[in-house]
């Protein structure tokens, strides 16, 4: 059995297709990332998987439960941290957690205990009786993540959990994501932050125009686009990209005071750069080979206009 099994899932709003026949599975215990530009269909996908929206076509199973046919049983297994903070601002921090505990059917004694433990874990225990209205953005996001964990979910959906937060809150949330995943919680993480997905996720799916355009481990995806390996070089004197039309270089970009030469064969390009330096008397200050990163994969696969 898989944690999530999605088949042919589609969502249309007034004839506009937001999610277009996607299929994928998430294994139990996996940390799965959903990447994509704005409007790619990530949040709509999450909303269908969490039973907030009904799919137009297709099915999604959460564990053994079909989210359309057995929504309450499926929802009981999951925790949700939505993109926009949605705690009750006129309830206290502990009031929000206790409400969620009650909605998940947790007994009173246990829910008080869990709420207090989570407040301690997220550094909010001292402010547990303060209304969420008075919290900073980082504190609000922490309480939202704590609400998502209140029912000890087997499956946790995190939609942009660190978006726009201060460094301290980002670090805390990332650390906790990793810890909960290590304890066996399956996590689906939606993010714009490619570095975050690269650091945290076991596998990522890249969405564009409502479709999944790639799905694999980050390392494999990076390897699949070797052409984005590049050589970064800086010279003492100013140079122009047009001077480096070497064979095997697909593109030359100016990045600050450096030039980045994209090539599949960096080993052949480096001697050419050294030769250029010697013949022109323009000394090399720095020279690096850069492997493709997930951002390159993302940009290559989601380049708009190349649908």
């Amino acid at each position: 059995m898989q944690a999530i099994e999605v088949e042919n899932l589609t969502k249309q709003f007034n004839g506009v297709t937001a999610v277009d026949h996607i299929s994928f599975t998430v294994k139990i215990g996996e940390l799965f990332g959903l990447l994509g530009p704005n409007g790619a269909g990530k949040t709509t996908t999450i909303r269908m998987l969490t039973g907030i929206l009904k799919s137009t076509v297709g099915s999604a199973h959460i564990g053994e439960y079909d989210i359309q046919k057995n929504p309450l049983e499926a929802k009981q297994m999951m925790g949700i941290v939505p993109e926009m903070a949605n705690a009750y601002i006129d309830l206290s921090a502990i009031g929000n957690l206790l409400l969620i505990g009650e909605l998940y059917g947790i007994q009173r004694k246990e829910r008080v205990e869990k709420a207090e433990n989570l407040l301690k874990l997220f550094g909010l225990y001292e402010k547990r009786h303060h209304k969420v209205r008075t919290f900073s953005k980082g504190m609000k996001q922490r309480i939202i993540v704590a609400m998502g964990l209140m029912n000890d979910p087997q499956l946790l959906f995190l939609d942009e959990p660190t978006s726009g937060l201060d460094v301290e809150s980002v670090r805390l949330i990332r650390k906790l994501i990793r810890e909960f995943n290590d304890k066996g919680t399956t996590i689906v993480l939606t993010t714009h932050n490619i570095e975050e997905a690269n650091q945290l996720c076991d596998r990522v799916a890249i969405m564009n125009y409502g479709k999944i355009v790639a799905i694999d481990r980050p390392e494999k995806l990076k390897r699949a686009i070797q052409s984005t390996t590049s050589v970064e070089v800086a010279f003492v004197k100013r140079v122009m990209p047009g001077e480096f039309t070497f064979e095997g270089v697909s593109e030359v970009k100016k990045v600050g005071n450096k030039l980045r030469l994209y090539t599949e064969k960096p080993g052949e390009i480096i001697p050419m750069l050294v030769k250029y330096s010697q013949s022109s008397g323009n000394k090399i200050i720095s020279l690096n080979t850069l492997e493709p990163n997930l951002e390159d994969v993302f940009l290559k696969l989601t380049r708009r206009g190349e649908k």
Partner: protein, 246 residues
Amino acid sequence: MNIFDQFKRSWAITKKDLSIFYLKGPVVISGLLMPSFLFFAFVLGRKFSPGFLIPGLLGMALFVTVSSIGPVIAPWETRMRTFERLISAPIALWAIILGDIIASLLFGLFITLFIVLVSIVLLGTEIISLALIVGTILAAFCFSSLGLLISAPATDNPSNIMMLSSLIKFPLIFISGIFVPIGEMGSWKIISYISPLTYYTDLARFSVGGTNYFNPAVSLLVLLGFGILFFFFAVKWHQKSLDKRF
């Protein structure tokens, strides 16, 4: 997941609503003042007996208070995105709506009880009867369900729903025998039959002065019927508009 579990979760919604929307000083005070002002603005300077006045005030107070806050909860929660939070939790939509209904029912009963007590103390009117107690609870359920039905359109703007609510509520107040007894409405009385408030006001008149137009049992049954009907359509229409909320 059994139904008893869902009722328990419904109660969590009720407690949340009471805490966030109802148990606030200004809300309670305006809940007491608004129906009283409306009522006295109409009756002051005219000669009415307590047997006519008190039932009218009761009907007005219950109807206005029960259906005042309930309709704006859904658009407010849609705007704050907490509605999304509730929908993603393992609680059925009918249980969420029932929780909202019970919160507004309890608020209305509290305000009505206050008016009853003031009436007893100031006017010495004996108005407590079993029919009135059962009728008040049924009417509160009915008016509250109507409020939730009004809030079904998918909007995140509470003022849109307030406007819709006023458009429906105020005409009902004038056709329900509060200001003019049904028996004196002539051929217009047929319109009063479509308003659940008519049956509650008549039931209150029966309890206070023993003057009634409908049989009290009929009034109770009609209130129950309206309540079930409004609840059913509230759930159905909220379900239908759910996709447009997010």
